[in-house]
Symmetry: C2
Subunit: 190 residues, 2 copies
DNA sequence: TTGTTTTTTTACCAAATGTTAAAAAAATTC
DNA sequence: GAATTTTTTTAACATTTGGTAAAAAAACAA
């Protein structure tokens, strides 16, 4: 049932049986249809989600344009983090790109788990460290690589995403317009 | 002595007197001269630094060009994080931009502190959350703002940096060449 | 100070990406 | 399946940024 979740978290720290089972009562299964919202604009992000099935994106409205900041790979945690950590209204929106099955954990429950088990707190810390490292490499990509290379790398790293995610979201994630993405896709082919 | 450090960490969690004092024996003061290295390329990052005085930058060599990924504001933690978390040789270099006074803490000591005090583990987690949120807003800037706006925002947010940090490092941090930075600085003036 | 090295600026041209508009293709709805 | 809506592609032109080279300015060293 929670195999993927278990595998994900135990990458970061070994958990005793008791520690692992302590999270169980806090996991809530939520199914979203394509285009449903996980977090709406202005809402306070009171929970975090592990994507068991499907793809979410994190976006925000910038002068009427939707800016996709993140497209979640399978089996990772997603929320509108700025809102989640500060418990203030979210400028970010989290939306289902495809039908999704999510494991949802409320922040209050997770914080209680952290209070009780140092080891869970460690898992939380290590996951954040890892996410930070990944975000940094994305910044390196923006600094050093033209859009075409960023696109190629993304295709290599997340080939499954291209079967499920509209190109306009991918273009925004790469920091270009969908017209530009179209153009560089054409030039790559030949 | 450690007032700035104490203020920084207690932003993230309240610490009892015992908890605060537990870190003291682990703090090592290190002074760097301008251009000295804190972490060298290929070295394993075995410690983290709080910049009490001065500015560090995090960079790496990309086809012979130095790419500045980060310029540390005063009173924050810095290390070559990918190496630090995985304990593998660092591709990133951490170098003093100005003379620096650093509070250095070894990873082994910090991990021991985390093991012993859940509250310190919490501080570590919250700092990583905060750093992640900041890095994300930098990604938003890359996606939505042209270099000129990114430059203006940086000047607003870190005006002190411009008195100490060479423009070429700032250009690289902004993701442009120093020639381009020169050009847009000229156009802003009038 | 003088000479040397490094950094910043300027200029010109090239390449990458944005903007606007419209057509084509695909997905969705009735 | 036909009509409608959304997404993707194409095209022409504008703007931003990069690359190369060299001059000017600043920092550093003898």
């Amino acid at each position: 049932m929670y195999d993927d979740l278990k595998q994900f978290v135990t990458q970061f720290a070994h958990l005793s049986r008791e520690e692992w089972e302590a999270v169980m009562p806090f996991i809530e299964i939520r199914n979203l249809k394509k285009n449903d919202y996980f977090i709406r604009e202005g809402e306070i992000a009171r929970y975090i989600s592990f994507t068991q099935k499907g793809y979410l994106r994190v976006l925000y409205n910038h002068d009427g344009n939707e800016i996709t900041r993140d497209i979640s790979p399978l089996h990772t945690f997603v929320t509108a983090l700025p809102s989640y950590v500060s418990q203030t209204p979210s400028f970010e929106i989290v939306q289902a790109i495809t039908d999704c099955e999510l494991f949802v954990i409320y922040r209050d429950h997770l914080e209680a788990l952290y209070d009780r088990y140092n080891n869970w707190q460690r898992v939380g810390r290590r996951i954040m460290e890892e996410m930070f490292v990944q975000t940094q490499s994305r910044i390196y990509a923006f600094i050093t690589q033209p859009a075409e290379v960023r696109y190629d790398e993304m295709m290599k790293q997340f080939p499954d995403i291209f079967q499920h995610v509209p190109l306009q979201y991918i273009a925004s994630y790469l920091g270009i317009t969908s017209q530009s993405l179209s153009r560089l896709r054409r030039s790559v082919k030949f």
